[in-house]
Symmetry: C2
Subunit: 183 residues, 2 copies
């Protein structure tokens, strides 16, 4: 993974708008690879769970002939940083004024509550208006518990979230922010 | 998952010997479900990563038409317990005198070293001679670094590992052992 991520990013942002969600994922994956290579943290994206309906075998091993994607019951990324458990979910919205809460499943909201209870670090990485924010699990849960809205106002994210700036390598140095918020 | 796990286990142990590896996995999965339900810990088995070669869409969503299994670069289980990061791998051997090291991939061994470095709890759950042991990551790495063997002698596991006894529910109450070893 040695291609210059900035070039790739520019290309993507300017042309493939449908892939914006993947773009954030790619940048986080590249950043996590960078952190692992530099022995800063061990954070991985969990594979998407699948239900396998049919398999067969050939000389190369097992082949899946039919399967479907299942929902993750936890958040997408988890791992270990400075002796602490860390878990997060990355979400992109094209909305400009709010982050729709149907982006996060109910079982994931419950999972966030539990991670907090068990003293883990948990947060959302939200891309909105082309800016990337970390929203702490605590602030997210407080927002949900204190009003009936079906979305989080952009104002709330701007005022309570922490902006991650793009850099060359890692593309999203979010651990810098984590250091400030949690340590 | 409300079926009585003891009945299931008795059935399996007495008849389907080929499934012994799955048996240990099932017991760990049931135990982890129990821990989650009782709010004791948040430990999940990671989905097996797959490479998707062909997808299509129908009215129910995305269907995978061809895919293959990939190797996990981390260990199979990870999560959060009493504020600590925890990760482990479950392995079964039919060997009676030793645990063959080709059961654990080189990148997994390196990953175990890194988890230790980053102050996580990491161990192996080894089923050998129908007994289930926890072998601490520290002891496992010491063994590997101090001799050239291609397997771990059963004697070493017996003397350095911690036996997990079967119980009714959870079937394998391994957190009881973790409490003693790590807290």
């Amino acid at each position: 993974m040695n291609y210059p991520s900035n070039i790739k990013k520019t290309y993507k942002n300017s042309t493939i708008y449908a892939n914006r969600g993947m773009d954030l994922e790619d940048d986080l994956n590249l950043s996590n690879e960078y952190y692992i290579l530099n022995n800063q943290a061990l954070i991985y994206k969990k594979p998407t769970p699948i239900g396998v309906a049919d398999v067969s075998y050939n000389t190369h091993g097992k082949i899946i002939n039919k399967a479907y994607f299942k929902e993750q019951s936890t958040l997408d990324y988890n791992g270990l940083y400075r002796g602490k458990y860390i878990e997060y979910e990355a979400k992109v919205t094209k909305n400009k004024t709010s982050f729709p809460l149907n982006n996060i499943h109910l079982h994931q909201i419950n999972h966030i509550r539990k991670v907090l209870e068990h003293q883990g670090i948990v947060f959302l990485v939200i891309k909105i208006n082309n800016l990337i924010y970390i929203l702490k699990g605590e602030d997210f849960i407080n927002y949900i518990d204190s009003n009936q809205r079906k979305s989080i106002k952009y104002e709330f994210i701007k005022n309570n979230g922490y902006l991650i700036n793009y850099s060359y390598n890692p593309p999203l140095d979010y651990l810098k922010i984590i250091d400030k918020i949690y340590f």
